[in-house]
């Protein structure tokens, strides 16, 4: 089948999509956006998190056909051109990136948290990111990064 959708503000079209293909597969293998990651492909790790019509979803659990005529925003669409979103910049600065495989999903999830809740408490950050597994960092630097990004977006830092 053919799937047409908007990704990071541009229209995208994928042909010969199999019925069983996920949005994640289409993004990674058909439209050249491998930023969303394939760590578990069963909705447990959050590394494939993207916005689907402004709601974060595990793109591995979304069938390709479900995104027909809808809006997708991936990690590749967080920066404004060369200008990183504060969440991205803070992940680098705080040391929240090691191997980086969980990073794209965490960035989208953290970006969404701060959009919804501009001044999240630590328990709120932890709860919001509880579906994103990271094996390298022990999460402490991720908390640092999200706190800092929220402060920057709120104009406090």
């Amino acid at each position: 089948m053919r799937v047409t959708f908007t990704v990071n503000g541009r229209s995208a079209e994928a042909d010969d999509v199999w019925e069983g293909e996920s949005l994640l597969y289409v993004l990674r293998e058909r439209v050249g956006l491998p930023g969303s990651k394939n760590a578990c492909e069963q909705g447990e790790c959050g590394s494939c998190t993207v916005y689907l019509d402004d709601v974060p979803v595990c793109s591995c659990l979304v069938a390709a056909g479900q995104v027909q005529d809808r809006q997708v925003r991936t990690v590749e669409g967080l920066a404004d051109g060369d200008r990183l979103d504060p969440v991205q910049a803070c992940f680098i600065k705080a040391g929240a990136v090691q191997c980086g495989f969980c990073t794209p999903g965490l960035l989208v999830q953290a970006h969404d948290l701060i959009e919804r809740n501009p001044e999240p408490s630590d328990p709120e950050i932890r709860e919001a990111l509880a579906g994103n597994l990271c094996r390298c960092t022990g999460y402490e630097k991720i908390l640092d990064a999200v706190r800092e990004a929220a402060a920057i977006k709120a104009g406090i830092a």
Partner: protein, 779 residues
């Protein structure tokens, strides 16, 4: 691969200290690509005409294979090739050290998930469907699943013809623990049986890569590994190719933790690519990943300690059985670690240790962060607590009365030559502030969290301590040297350094440190890191916490050679000799005469490039009968204090604090280092309370992130850390490897805290809810 150095602000060239050098915390050079989703991991690679490879794996832990029929699979439209062991072009067996592992099963399988056949097809789903069409005639056999039986029962069936014991390493010191004279010195004797379940590395980036057939009949491999050159030594003979025709480049690595020391898809993808003549991509999914790499050895450990009334250890009688599963992998060296560190960092005058690594038909086990030292650490630290309880001593006190200091001997007789202020580290740890009592008004602070398991009732807090000692670099006479090529050149009107090694950046931050070293040694700010590949000499493995030491040492040595060549060139230009030159801020400075030239001037005549190897001091094999010998290159120590709230009614746990004191010799990059200590501690927490590959009758029951649990952000507490810098004079900059020690000590500290809260004699990790509620009548 990223080759960009971090962006730095312009700095004063007269400044002698270059920013972003050793001791600073420049950010990762690959950070920008990683946050933009543009970093190319091994699973992200793409070529227009590529096809997909897939692996048929055995459903049985032990079976004979009478035949494999690939005809139906080959007929499926979109299938390019179906290969079995008959298609392996060269040697049919490989292995990390023991070449006992078939590229594809030959006549039998020895573990569930063993690769049997390969498919190449136009789509991953086509490949999966083709796998189902391959007919394998298995004769299922009773698997060998009891590792103790594999060691001690002469009637046990053999997993391999040469016996089930991969390595038995004894350690003997002083008199026998059974000697009445030894027993007479003991006021108390305590025993414990301990068990460690199978832990998985659970790196997030699955095994994956791209093999591209080359016109010269060779192959270019883009893969995620921990040691390019060791892979190459195994891959080339199996492909029947000379090593120079197998060109390997490191792709982005999504974590490793030991799980990428062994090969996974490399030979398979190369075989398919060479057969079909097209690039072949392979990507395991999570379930396949659980079968695609070795795990941490599960351990059965029996300990008996005797001590004086003051708590001084008199003897240790230890048996450790490590289940290596179907193939040897790193088992011999894991046994060496478990034996040499079997009583940990304690002075014990009389020791009998027997450590065994065995073949069974359970999942194959090999390297994982901590590598044999983790298992022993859980047991010996549990024993120290047991002894303290028996003697009515504080857990810290009993450790301080027995722990090694500089000049003391390990069980192997090896003298601790570098500073080892472990007793003082415990004082520092104990003095760290304790966490406040749980705020029960927010469920997220309690065991069970928002599942509303408790509002504080039935919750008991416990405190526990753990010490870990880890050998850094390879041990037992292995010359795991590293190589670095450093080039200093003019790039337009600035001077840049290019550092080229084959060392695997697996997320730990090695490339950041390589650039820092070059900045410090050469006094230049612009440093690029060349992609790691096999066109430069070996770097050794990104394991054993060794790369800062070894590849750091190689980069430092190569930079020193470049610096010497710069000085030689300027001396030649000036027609005279200098003996007091240094490099700072792009200038060549004579101590007596001041600035005598600039790097720009010197490099106008052409770049300067030097390649150097760095070797650590020689070590010795352990004596096969007594275990004695200076087997380790370096020792590193970490101490943890865990505070845990336990819902004793439901068996739920919340780790409230996990505080750490670690001696790293030299803080090369505090930001990266802290990340290593946090992450290492988290993996120890996982082993303590949740992570286990559950196996029944040789079969894995939970190969998914739904059922194999790793710590989430809700499980990890905030950590207080004190990082010490007692230099090891033999190591570059005095540094000590840092990634593994916290993985050792956090597990026993958490287990001790849970024992403290519950009063239970918990002898097994991970500790499960049912371990805490068993026998309770109100549960």
């Amino acid at each position: 691969m990223p080759t960009r150095a971090p962006d730095r602000a312009p700095r004063d060239l007269n400044q002698s200290a270059t920013t972003g050098g050793v001791g600073d915390s420049p950010t990762r050079p690959d950070g920008s690509l990683k946050v933009k989703g543009e970093f190319a991991y091994s699973s992200d690679l793409f070529m227009d005409d590529m096809i997909w490879g897939a692996t048929l794996r055995s459903p049985h832990p032990r079976a004979l294979i009478h035949s494999i029929d690939v005809a139906a699979a080959l007929k499926l439209p979109g299938v390019y090739a179906v290969l079995t062991h008959e298609d392996v072009p060269g040697h049919k067996f490989y292995g990390l050290d023991t070449r006992d592992q078939p590229v594809l099963a030959v006549g039998q399988v020895r573990h569930q998930g063993e690769p049997v056949a390969l498919v190449a097809a136009d789509h991953p789903e086509t490949a999966r469907r083709a796998l189902k069409l391959i007919q394998v005639d298995y004769e299922v056999q009773e698997p060998v699943v009891d590792p103790r039986r594999a060691v001690f029962d002469p009637q046990c069936p053999l997993v391999h013809d040469d016996g089930n014991i991969v390595r038995h390493q004894p350690v003997r010191v002083g008199a026998s623990p059974d000697d009445p004279a030894v027993r007479a010195q003991c006021a108390v004797v305590v025993s414990g049986e301990y068990e460690v379940g199978i832990q998985d590395q659970a790196f997030l980036g699955p095994e994956s890569g791209l093999a591209i057939p080359a016109e010269d009949g060779g192959v270019d491999l883009y893969v995620a590994t921990q040691w390019i050159h060791w892979d190459l030594l195994q891959i080339a003979p199996c492909l029947g190719l000379p090593e120079e025709k197998v060109r390997m480049t490191l792709s982005g690595v999504g974590g490793a933790f030991g799980g990428r020391e062994d090969l996974s898809m490399e030979i398979h993808a190369a075989m398919l690519a060479l057969r079909v003549g097209k690039p072949v991509k392979m990507v395991y999914n999570r379930e396949e990943s659980f079968f695609g790499h070795v795990h941490r050895h599960p351990a059965l450990m029996t300990y008996t300690y005797g001590a004086t009334a003051e708590g001084k250890l008199v003897f240790a009688d230890v048996e450790i059985v490590l289940d290596g599963g179907g193939y040897a992998s790193a088992t011999p060296n894991v046994v060496g670690n478990a034996a040499s560190l079997g009583v940990g960092p304690y002075v014990v005058p009389n020791i009998k240790i027997d450590a065994y690594g065995v073949y069974t038909n359970n999942p194959p086990c090999g390297a994982m962060r901590g590598f044999g030292a983790v298992q022993a650490c859980f047991a010996y630290e549990s024993m120290m607590d047991k002894l303290a309880a028996e003697l009515g001593l504080d857990p810290v006190t009993i450790r301080q009365r027995n722990v090694v200091a500089q000049g003391d001997k390990l069980a192997t007789g090896q003298v601790v030559e570098a500073p080892a202020p472990v007793a003082e580290m415990l004082d520092t740890l104990k003095a760290l502030p304790m966490p406040a009592p749980a705020d029960t008004s927010d469920l997220r602070n309690l065991p069970g969290s928002t599942a509303n398991a408790t509002h504080g009732e039935g919750v008991v807090r416990g405190v526990g301590y753990g010490i870990g000692v880890k050998n850094i670099c390879f041990s037992e006479d292995f010359d795991d040297y590293s190589t670095a090529r450093v080039r200093l050149e003019l790039l337009g009107d600035t001077v840049g350094a290019l550092v080229h090694t084959a060392a695997a950046e697996v997320g730990q931050g090695l490339i950041t440190i390589e650039a820092q070293i070059a900045r410090t040694e050469l006094g230049v700010e612009q440093v690029s890191i060349h992609p790691a590949d096999s066109s430069v000499g070996t770097a050794g493995s990104s394991s054993a916490s060794r790369q800062s030491y070894m590849t750091g040492g190689a980069v430092k040595t190569a930079c020193e050679a470049v610096r010497a060549a710069v000085f030689e060139r300027i001396a030649q230009d000036h027609g005279r000799a200098y003996d007091d030159l240094s490099l700072a801020g792009g200038k060549i400075v004579s101590h007596a005469e001041g600035v005598i030239g600039t790097l720009e001037e010197v490099l106008a005549a052409g770049p300067i490039e030097q390649t150097r190897e760095y070797h650590h001091h020689r070590t010795q094999r352990m004596d096969p009968f007594t275990g004695q010998g200076n087997s380790h290159t370096q020792l590193a120590f970490a101490v943890h204090r865990a505070v845990v709230d336990v819902d004793v009614e439901l068996g739920l746990i919340k780790v409230v604090a996990l505080d750490l004191v670690q001696d790293v010799g030299k803080i090369m990059n505090r930001l990266s280092l802290e990340g290593q200590l946090h992450g290492g501690s988290a993996q120890g927490l996982g082993l303590a309370v949740m992570e286990e590959i559950q196996v029944r009758d040789g079969k894995v029951r939970n190969p998914s992130f739904t059922d194999y649990l790793i710590p989430t952000i809700l499980d990890m507490p905030p950590m207080r850390m004190e990082i010490l810098e007692n230099a090891d004079p033999r190591a570059p900059y005095g540094l000590r490897g840092a990634g593994e020690p916290p993985t050792l000590s956090s597990t026993p500290a958490i287990a001790a805290a849970i024992r403290d809260a519950t009063g239970l004699d918990l002898r097994r990790v991970p500790i499960r809810p049912e371990d805490l509620t068993e026998g309770r009548t109100d549960a």
